[in-house]
């Protein structure tokens, strides 16, 4: 049986500049899958390739065995409807209230009438703790609230796959912890698979079941597994150092004796 989401031999490149290559992994339902790595290694770029915003140089992104990038427009639209996305900046539409932000995906992806959409928007906003903020505009709420509203928008249409780009970036530790709890709750309530990009160690270690580690130097994944396992048992010293928050090993210098 095909995996809910599978990335196969993906190569990401901007012009002649290689970002990452040889990326392969599978994500099953109810899994929280972390894309790890240092700043600038291509984590968010990988996410953008997976949700159809950037096309890969080569390789496949398969949803239930159907390759997004070789599918026709109608199939792509159908596959996109199975995805919810929280962007790094939350990306709430600034000219709309939070309720309108949540209603727009429902309008696009479901057959609900306006009353049903408003009821669902209120439900998910309450769920993320913003029940009384539906009439507020994004500019009127804090960064943490924006992230929660972004999650509400992403889960409103109940997609089976949820992508989160640095959900806890820029948040204080308490807000970050609350957001981690919310992600776990979303997974448990909806049964969705959650794929998230982060280099926040507490979040990675607390919530991720599985993951992949992208290396900026070799430009390919160097480890695969849950962050906790990788922290304790990863073979690659860079991965261990990253997850233990230690100094990375010094790069080998050719011609110099060890």
């Amino acid at each position: 049986m095909a995996a809910l989401l599978e990335v196969r031999d993906l190569r990401m490149q901007f012009g002649e500049r290689l970002i990452q290559a040889d990326i392969s992994f599978k994500v099953e339902p109810r899994t929280i899958f972390a894309i790890m790595g240092g700043s600038g290694c291509g984590k968010s770029t990988l996410l953008r390739h997976m949700i159809g915003l950037l096309s890969p140089k080569s390789g496949q992104v398969l949803y239930d065995g159907v390759d997004y990038w070789s599918a026709d427009d109608a199939t792509q639209a159908n596959l996109r409807s199975r995805v919810g996305m929280l962007f790094q900046s939350a990306a709430l539409w600034s000219s709309m209230t939070l309720t309108e932000n949540v209603c727009l995906p429902l309008e696009q992806l479901t057959q609900q009438d306006e009353a049903q959409r408003l009821a669902r928007a209120q439900q998910v906003l309450e769920w993320v703790g913003l029940g009384s903020f539906g009439g507020f505009y994004p500019a009127d709420i804090s960064g943490g609230m924006k992230k929660r509203a972004g999650i509400a928008r992403a889960i409103a249409a109940e997609p089976p796959i949820l992508f989160l780009d640095e959900p806890s970036a820029g948040l204080d530790p308490i807000s970050s912890k609350r957001l981690d709890d919310l992600i776990l709750e979303v997974r448990d309530r909806t049964g969705a698979a959650v794929i998230f990009v982060s280099h926040e160690l507490p979040s990675l270690l607390a919530i991720a079941d599985d993951g992949i580690f992208l290396d900026a130097d070799s430009k390919k994944p160097i480890a695969h597994g849950s962050p906790r396992e990788l922290r304790d048992h990863a073979e690659h010293p860079t991965v261990r150092a990253f997850l233990r928050r230690e100094e990375p090993p010094a790069p080998s210098q050719p011609g110099k004796n060890p």
Partner: protein, 263 residues
Amino acid sequence: MAAMSTPLSVRLEALLMPRAVGFLGQVLLAGLALLRGRGRFRARDLARVLADAGARALPIITVVNLLVGAIFAFVGAVQLVKFGAGIFVADLVAISVSREMAAVITAVVMAGRTGASFAAELATMQTNEEVDALEVLGLDAVDYLVLPRVIALVSMMPLLYIYACFMGLLGGMAVGTGMLDLAHTAYLDRSFDALTWAHVGLGLSKSLVFGMLIAMTGCYSGLYAQRNAAGVGSATTKAVVAGIVGVIVLDSGFAICANALGL
């Protein structure tokens, strides 16, 4: 030297601007889809842009066109009075305002005001990933963001042009009656004698085309801006410069065509 080292394909691409042509095609297709009842933007967004590009622009359009009418009347009065033809100031103002100045000055003001605002708004949305969020939902940025802005400006520009004509005539009349002691009724009679449908039709056509140009350059600059604060500033500058230069270039094209057609 730098230009010499640029590959031919890159220079050709810059010259032909395939992205700009593609954008124009996308807007036209979105417009056709709208005519077939497949518009995908929110009526509320259109209403907001209509108000911004229409009613909220009136104060600045009023001031600028009143003054332009007055300046033309001043310049005309000084010269025409020498020949005892002071009353023809009314003709001068009516024709110049309706054929050229109301449309061009209004377009320049709108390029600096609304074109810049479109560019800044879309560039900021691009920076904040709001455009990406629309695309993930399957909503095309041209359908959802560009088309309502183009419709709003193309609908508002002719109305603003007519309003600007009246303001220009009023400015000219203030100078004509104040400086040359012409009677209000005499001034208005001469003005309306001088005005023909050809002048007004030409001005209206220009305002439509200018509206389209300003909306498109504003939206294009914003939508393809770099995703940072500098990108927003640069997009705004590009929108204003391209809008104003485009208006002048198109106006000269209109002048040549009108001359060829005997208008």
